[in-house]
């Protein structure tokens, strides 16, 4: 088992390396719109497009050979010298360190809430199948799933922020993190995200739980005199947790990677999503690579945790010497 973890970690390193290289390669061959803009402006005002292009390249260090640039980036990555972000004019590490807390502050509550609520509703639905509340829960879940996040966010902002004034319209990054004011302005983004993700967790946990609700050992537990709550948590949830782990990790990653950008744009939260997207648009290589590394890291660690969690949760699974 230990060997397994070690091998997985090593593989994680290799995977990270590959991802970074591919990302760098893609960035290197993409034409740069900022460069084109400068050339055009220069020509339009009577200057020289070539001179502008040269100036641009000199500034970005793009006038050296690809191999040299590649080597330099990879060594820097390893030594945690992640470079200087052109588009933000600060070191990449600083940029990421500044943005990370803002993403965490809404994604952590979202994850916790979606998992807890999703599981709870899903289990409840499974044990009360086909009742009105089951249907209501399903409807609510699919409503949240089907509605586009960004649109929903805008609507909520308009209604609760602009019209009713209950919540601030613009995210204020000055407010201290663990204060009531911060919680207040996070309500809308978290609501938007939770409604989106809860459906998946809910339906999945409902389906898994259903499988186990009919299971014989549940009957055994009942015959032993266990009450409904105990049966639900100890005898249904616990075995169902194994397959549920698959989507939980996926969910966390999902929030981190995909949903975060949309919500951050609508609510103006200066988090990782915005950071990485703008970095890509500006073709800010160092920053793109830095943020890719973060996401890779989250993915890899997440998957490793998931695999390890499997063994812990389900004694039938044993990696042994695989």
């Amino acid at each position: 088992m230990r060997w397994y973890v070690v091998r997985r970690v090593l593989w994680a390193v290799v995977a990270t390396f590959l991802i970074l290289s591919v990302t760098w390669g893609l960035l290197a061959v993409t034409p740069n719109p900022a460069a084109e803009q400068m050339q055009f402006q220069a020509a339009a005002s009577g200057g020289s497009a070539e001179a502008a292009e040269e100036a641009f390249e000199a500034r970005r260090g793009l006038d050296r050979s690809p191999w040299v640039r590649y080597q330099e980036y990879m060594t820097n990555m390893v030594t945690l010298n992640w470079g200087w972000s052109q588009s933000r004019s600060q070191p990449v590490i600083e940029a990421i360190a500044a943005a990370l807390p803002y993403t965490a502050i809404y994604s952590v509550p979202t994850t916790i809430l979606s998992i807890l609520l999703g599981l709870a509703i899903g289990l409840y639905s499974a044990t009360n199948q086909y009742t009105k509340s089951d249907y209501a829960a399903t409807f609510f879940a699919f409503f949240g799933y089907a509605i586009p996040n960004f649109w929903f966010g805008i609507i909520l902002l308009l209604v609760f922020g602009v019209q009713l004034g209950w919540f601030p319209v613009v995210f204020d990054s000055d407010i201290p993190f663990f204060s009531l004011g911060m919680a207040r302005q996070l309500v809308l983004p978290v609501v938007v995200l939770v409604t989106g993700t809860i459906a998946g967790v809910m339906r999945y946990s409902r389906a898994e739980a259903l499988e186990y609700v009919e299971a014989e050992f549940v009957k055994t537990a009942k015959s032993k005199g266990a009450d409904g709550y105990r049966i639900l948590t100890r005898h249904i949830l616990r075995p169902a947790a194994v397959p549920l782990m698959t989507i939980l990790v996926g969910d966390i990653l999902g929030i981190f990677l995909a949903a975060s950008y949309l919500v951050e744009v609508v609510f103006g939260i200066p988090g990782l999503g915005q950071l990485s997207y703008n970095a890509i648009l500006a073709q800010d290589t160092s920053l793109v690579l830095g943020t890719t590394l973060i996401f890779t890291f989250v993915s890899v660690v997440g998957n490793l945790v998931q695999d390890v969690a499997y063994t812990v949760l389900d004694p039938r699974i044993d990696y042994g010497d695989r």
């Binding site: 034409p31 719109p33 084109e36 803009q37 400068m38 050339q39 055009f40 402006q41 220069a42 020509a43 339009a44 005002s45 009577g46 200057g47 020289s48 497009a49 070539e50 001179a51 502008a52 040269e54 100036a55 641009f56 390249e57 000199a58 500034r59 970005r60 260090g61 200087w84 052109q86 588009s87 933000r88 004019s89 600060q90 070191p91 940029a95 500044a98 943005a99 805008i154 902002l157 308009l158 922020g161 602009v162 004034g165 601030p168 319209v169 613009v170 995210f171 990054s173 000055d174 744009v265 609508v266 609510f267 103006g268 200066p270 915005q274 950071l275 703008n278 500006a282």
Partner: protein, 626 residues
């Protein structure tokens, strides 16, 4: 709804300003008292060109409040040596005034210094004597300027990557080469710029207008080793630590992608100088200014509506709603950017565009008033030539109008087009224009896929061409970067050697060099008409202009007019020549001029200081809360 023309408040034709003599300059710098000045030097009270900075105002302005503006994008860097985007520029300008500003009536307003010239070729720049750098770099002297220009701007190679380096080089007629413009220090606070040729518009060019400076003490560390990286990452440059008393505000914090805050500078130099209007005496009038970065438009507008920001840009289609809000004032200012249809006259375009008669005929096909009223919701002006109507250089006796009033319509278009195309294979088959084989003439028009308004204009043009000229036009969307690489960049085919080339956008003669993809018309780009420095648009109208990607060869020698105008210091003569040039341009119709959209900004009801003129922000340090 009022038409576009009514909404912009023109400040009327500016008074003629003679060139500045030395006497005026000295007075400006406090050598003699204000009372002795004659009225025409433009720095008195109650001047026609001053907008609402009227004499009684200063008593009612009080310092207080935080002014919050909304921006859709964040700045890239405060180190202005390395970037050239407008947002970064605006962040910097809040803390560093720059050498002088230009008032809406095209008058120079000295900030850090003033210029004087006798012949329009040699300019002497004089700095004020109370300018102090921050971070212990002492007083700002001419030495700082000359060092910066010679060792950074004009450095060969351009090791720092300064984006506007090329502006500091001009062609020396003696050698025929591009050489750095000679700059020399002539006194502690004075230095001279010695152009090779006369250029009266130099003070209005971006290389001097609001030009910033950096203490020699900082630059010295990097010049010798040509250390571009060091320069880029220098802490003081990135935090504007050197700003001292040189701007209305000082840098406070910059939370990337969130907010940028500056606080009131108690020591602001402009409070302490003679010869400026009273309202600057206590400037600035906000305790703090904050820019909040909000990339989502609905959120931005929502913030304006709820009062969480004090100003924000408003897209024309939403402006009506804001006009009706009691807590928001909508301000419309004209802009110098021109929307026009570019006709591709290269061999991969449509050949009849090369004929002036054809282009003039097509000028009758599109209803410009409709574009202004319906597509741009009235927040625009009709365009007839490469200058806005409110500019000094627009002579309406010379400019020919198309697409308005009775200079528009199907009959008018078809008769002219038919006669213009007589002798070619093209002709009318009933309503349709057909080519030699009887096929309907079909042309393409390209627009930016990220701009829905452009799409609407393109479709409108297509519709007009169809109805009025019998030409079937197909709108095509394309991204801006694709457009630039595949449609704007032109070059001769591999292997052939064109007889001349003028850069990546004008790769050679129009029959030889073309873009990668073929196209007939496009509205992707908006061009600056440079109302302060009209000579800058010369390249559009000459055969070998660096920007002439569409292959237009003028019938008349328009560039000669430009050159002549540039070479004379006689303001009146210049106006005549430019007026004639723009008149000729309207006659030749190299583009299908459409409109010049205005900028619509919403302000919180309590904000004062802005007006409905172009460049209304020139004195933004004097704005206040009522």
């Amino acid at each position: 709804m009022p038409s576009g023309n009514d909404r912009r408040g023109t400040s009327g034709t500016a008074e003629r300003r003679g060139r500045r003599g030395r006497r005026d300059v000295l007075k400006l710098l406090g050598a003699t008292s204000v009372a002795g000045l004659a009225g025409c030097s433009g720095n008195g009270e109650g001047d026609g060109g001053d907008g609402n900075g009227a004499s009684t105002e200063s008593a009612t302005r009080s310092v207080g409040g935080t002014y919050v503006s909304a921006s859709s994008v964040d700045a890239q860097s405060l180190n202005w040596l390395t970037i050239a985007d407008a947002t970064s520029g605006s962040f910097v300008t809040a803390t560093l005034d720059g050498i002088w500003a230009i008032k809406p009536n095209r008058e120079i307003f000295p900030l850090w210094g003033d210029y004087s010239t006798d012949d329009g070729r040699v300019y002497e720049i004089q700095l004020r004597d109370n300018l102090e750098w921050g971070a212990g770099y002492g007083q700002m002297t001419a030495d700082d300027w000359v060092y910066m220009i010679q060792n950074v701007f004009q450095a060969r190679p351009n090791w720092s990557g300064y984006p506007n380096a090329a502006d500091w080089f001009r062609t020396n007629p003696e050698s025929g080469q591009r050489e750095p413009i000679p700059v020399e220090q002539t006194g502690e606070l004075t230095f001279e710029i010695r152009l090779f040729e006369v250029d009266p518009s130099l003070p209005f060019k971006p290389i001097l207008w609001r030009q910033q400076c950096i203490p020699r003490g900082i630059l010295e560390q990097y010049v010798e080793d040509q250390d571009a990286e060091g320069l880029q990452q220098d802490e003081e440059l990135n935090t504007l630590a050197y700003a001292g008393n040189l701007g209305p505000y000082t840098y406070d914090t910059w939370e990337r992608s969130a907010r940028y805050t500056v606080t009131r500078n108690e020591d602001y130099y402009l409070q302490d100088v003679e010869g400026v209007p009273d309202r600057f005496a206590e400037a600035p009038y906000f305790d703090q200014q904050t820019v909040r970065v909000i990339s989502e438009e609905s959120t931005r507008l929502g913030a304006l509506e709820s009062g969480e920001v004090d100003s924000s840009g408003i897209p024309p289609d939403k402006a009506n709603r804001f006009e009706n809000l009691p807590n928001v004032t909508v301000n419309v200012t004209p802009q110098p950017y021109l929307r026009m249809i570019v006709y591709n006259m290269r061999s991969n375009g449509w050949e009849p565009f090369r004929s002036k008669a054809v282009r003039r005929a097509l000028g009758f096909a599109v209803n410009k008033e409709s574009v202004v009223q319906n597509v741009l919701r009235g927040y625009a002006d009709v365009a007839q030539t490469m200058q806005p109507e409110w500019s000094d250089w627009y002579d309406d006796s010379q400019v020919e109008e198309f697409g308005v009033g009775d200079r528009y319509g199907p009959e008018e278009t078809r008769t002219r087009l038919e006669s213009a195309l007589s002798g070619t294979e093209y002709g009318y088959d009933g309503e349709r224009l057909v080519d030699g084989s009887g096929e309907q003439v079909t042309l393409s028009i390209y627009y930016d896929s990220g701009q829905p308004t452009e799409g609407t204009i393109a479709e409108f043009v297509a519709q007009e061409f169809g109805e009025n000229a019998g030409i079937d036009v197909q709108p095509e969307a394309v991204s801006s970067s694709t457009f630039q690489s595949n449609y704007v960049q032109t070059s001769a085919p591999d292997g052939t050697d064109p007889e001349w080339t003028a850069g990546t956008f004008n790769g050679g003669p129009r029959d030889v060099a073309t873009s990668a993809d073929s196209w007939d018309m496009s509205i992707n780009l908006q061009f600056n008409t440079y109302p302060f420095t009209p000579a800058s648009s010369k390249g559009f109208f000459e055969r070998r202009g660096g920007i002439n990607f569409y292959g237009y060869y003028p019938d008349e020698d328009i560039s000669a007019l430009y050159e002549e105008a540039t070479a004379t210091t006689d303001e009146e003569r210049r106006r005549e020549l430019f007026g004639e040039a723009f008149g000729l341009i309207s006659e030749e119709q190299p583009f299908g001029f459409l409109a010049m959209p205005s900028s619509v900004t919403g302000y919180a009801e309590s904000v004062r200081g802005y007006d409905e003129e172009f460049n209304t922000g020139w004195d933004s340090q004097a704005w206040y809360f009522a």
